[in-house]
Amino acid sequence: MVEWTDAERAAIQDIFSNLDYEDIGPKALRRCLIVYPWCQRYFGGFGNLYNAEAILSNPMVAAHGIVVLHGLDRAMKNMDNIKNTYAELSVLHSEKLHVDPDNFRLLADCLSVVIAGKMGTAFTPEIQAAWQKFLAVVVNALGRQYH
């Protein structure tokens, strides 16, 4: 079981309470598709992803970014039971979507960069540590049901 300090819980809740899903979600997914272009393999039906400009203006990418970010809500609300909370999502990503679990880590890294860009120096080392720990647990849970 993951142990969370009060400070870590507060840091995570704080980030989520100030989160503009419609802004950060699209930014994170767009960045992931541009910085790690092999991730585009999972988005064949999303139309034009040919270059950065296309990705940045693609409405399906933006919409899906919001979906993905809201997916993190469940983890934030169930921080003491993330593994089980994500069991079904893990099966989905493995059996139906066939996503290489390493991609979860890549998206998590992009999300951290976007949050850092938004928070500036308010993204202290302590908050970064809590946020990355949270994402690492989520990433681990999403990969858990792969076999």
């Binding site: 976007v114 080392p125 970064q128």
Partner: protein, 143 residues
């Protein structure tokens, strides 16, 4: 994953832009490396103070950033240009190369923090590719 002409242009111009803040960026990046990834502290047991922003961290952060800026000058042949640094890391410092990726990640985070508008996805991918090549060049002499 080689650097295109566009990548090199983006890297050169972005590093020129951030040069005045090199010490702050290096300090923040190294502070985060030691704080968020505590296993990296094992390489600095000879420092008195390992807390974020301490004097040895600030000084060494500048050393690291100066190394990166020097690598930008040698961007057309990093393997040759970073040969001596690779030997230093391989034979003297003996840093596990897995840690290069950790510093890289924190440099990217700090770049986003300080330059949210300039650190666009295109600049991000160019810089990430460049730093990955630097890491590769640094690993060259290990074995």
């Amino acid at each position: 994953m080689s650097l295109s002409t566009k990548d090199k242009t983006l890297v050169k111009s972005f590093f020129t832009k951030i040069a005045p803040k090199a010490e702050d960026i290096g300090n923040e990046a190294l502070s985060r490396t030691l704080f968020v990834y505590p296993q990296t502290k094992t390489y600095f047991s000879h420092w008195k103070d390992l807390s974020p922003g301490s004097a040895p961290i600030r000084k060494h952060g500048l050393t690291v950033m100066t190394g990166y800026m020097d690598a930008v000058e040698k961007i057309d042949d990093l393997l040759a240009g970073l040969l001596e640094l690779s030997e230093l890391h391989a034979f003297t410092l003996r840093v596990d190369p897995a840690n290069f990726k950790i510093i890289t990640h924190n440099v990217l985070v700090v770049m986003a923090m300080y330059y949210p508008d300039d650190f666009t996805p295109e600049v991000h991918v160019a810089v990430d590719k460049f730093l990955s090549k630097v890491n590769l060049a640094l690993s060259e002499k290990y074995r």
